[in-house]
């Protein structure tokens, strides 16, 4: 079973909670996905609308563990303050640390990220940093005290799948003992399967389910895809080869020419 920061988690599919057609569909999608961890965020609350209060009661009713993010932060300082607010608001030391370097690519800023991770780990947070596949950034984050890494598959919301499978394979091989979650860029169930077949411990996705024509059925599809990929990885897949090799035994073939 997957274990992150001493917590055992039954599902290897983490689901985002944004962009669903309705709160009811979000709730059904989380259930269909079998997700035990969902990501949430923080935004400005107005006294008039109080949108956050309703959302929070929906999430609490789901009975899942929340992983708050620092989406929208561009500096270590902003991310640290956001994380501190999230810890009080959601009552969890978990934080998906997102420090964005560019608003077009939404690529993480590795320098600010490592700085924020160092501060937050020292403050007792359990940090889930969102990174590219960069091996040195990964190493620095582990040095800072992170015990989980979350490399991207492709840019956030792009749905392109694993843009650089070679780099993800290399990262997996470099840190075999570190729980790693492929986060962002997953568009299809097959992408999730591929990440799991590479030996990643879990996948985190949002748009691929929320923006599907039928989010609830897509959530179910991703649940099966993640399970299939994990089972495949654990079953020690065969090696690919260049030439054909008959799968049906040749011995005893009838001579009918």
């Amino acid at each position: 079973m997957l274990e992150v920061y001493g917590t055992r988690i039954g599902s290897r599919l983490f689901l985002g909670t944004a962009q669903y057609p309705s709160p009811a569909i979000l709730a059904r999608a989380v259930e269909a996905a079998g997700a035990e961890v969902v990501t949430v965020s923080l935004r400005r609350e107005s006294g008039a609308e109080r949108a956050g209060q309703g959302f929070w009661s929906i999430i609490r009713e789901l009975g899942v563990r929340v992983l708050p993010n620092t989406a929208g932060c561009y500096s270590a300082r902003e991310a640290v303050t956001t994380a501190e607010m999230a810890r009080e608001l959601f009552g969890t030391p978990w934080i998906k640390l997102e420090v964005i370097g560019n608003h077009d690519t939404l690529q993480p800023d590795p320098f600010e990220l490592v700085e924020a991770a160092r501060i937050l780990c020292a403050e007792g947070f359990e940090v889930f940093p969102y990174i590219t596949e960069d091996l040195i950034v990964a190493e620095r984050l582990l040095d800072a005290g992170c015990r989980v890494l979350m490399p991207w598959g492709a840019p956030i919301g792009s749905g392109r799948g694993l843009a650089n499978p070679y780099a993800l394979r290399t990262l997996r091989a470099r840190f075999p003992e570190v729980p790693m979650v492929v986060d962002a860029g997953i568009g299809l169930p097959s992408h999730a399967t591929q990440a799991m077949e590479l030996g990643y411990d879990a996948v985190l996705l949002n748009t691929a389910v929320a923006k599907a024509g039928d989010p609830v059925r897509m959530a179910e599809a991703f649940r099966r895809a993640v399970e299939a990929g994990r089972l495949g990885f654990e079953s020690d897949p065969m090696d690919a080869r260049d030439m054909a090799a008959p799968s049906t035994p040749v011995l005893g073939t009838a001579f009918l020419a």
């Binding site: 985002g16 909670t17 990501t39 400005r44 609350e45 956050g52 009080e88 608001l89 959601f90 748009t207």
Partner: protein
């Protein structure tokens, strides 16, 4: 005095952050607060005296990916 609440200018006579939340109708809401970019835990809100031009952030749970 004038302060910024969630980046909106606001004229107010309140003294503390707790008073401000009451004025906003958010005293019982699930929110987290920051003043001038620094987190203010719930227990410290009654003792944080607001000053002219302070920037107050009041954040609530929201959907996220």
């Amino acid at each position: 005095m004038q302060i910024l609440v969630n980046n909106e200018p606001r004229e107010t006579q309140v003294h503390t952050l707790t008073d401000l939340l009451r004025e906003l109708g958010l005293e019982a809401a699930v929110v987290a607060t920051a003043v001038n970019g620094s987190f203010v835990p719930v227990g410290r809100r009654p003792t944080v005296e607001l000053q002219e031009a302070d920037r107050v952030e009041v954040l609530a749970p929201m959907q996220g990916g």
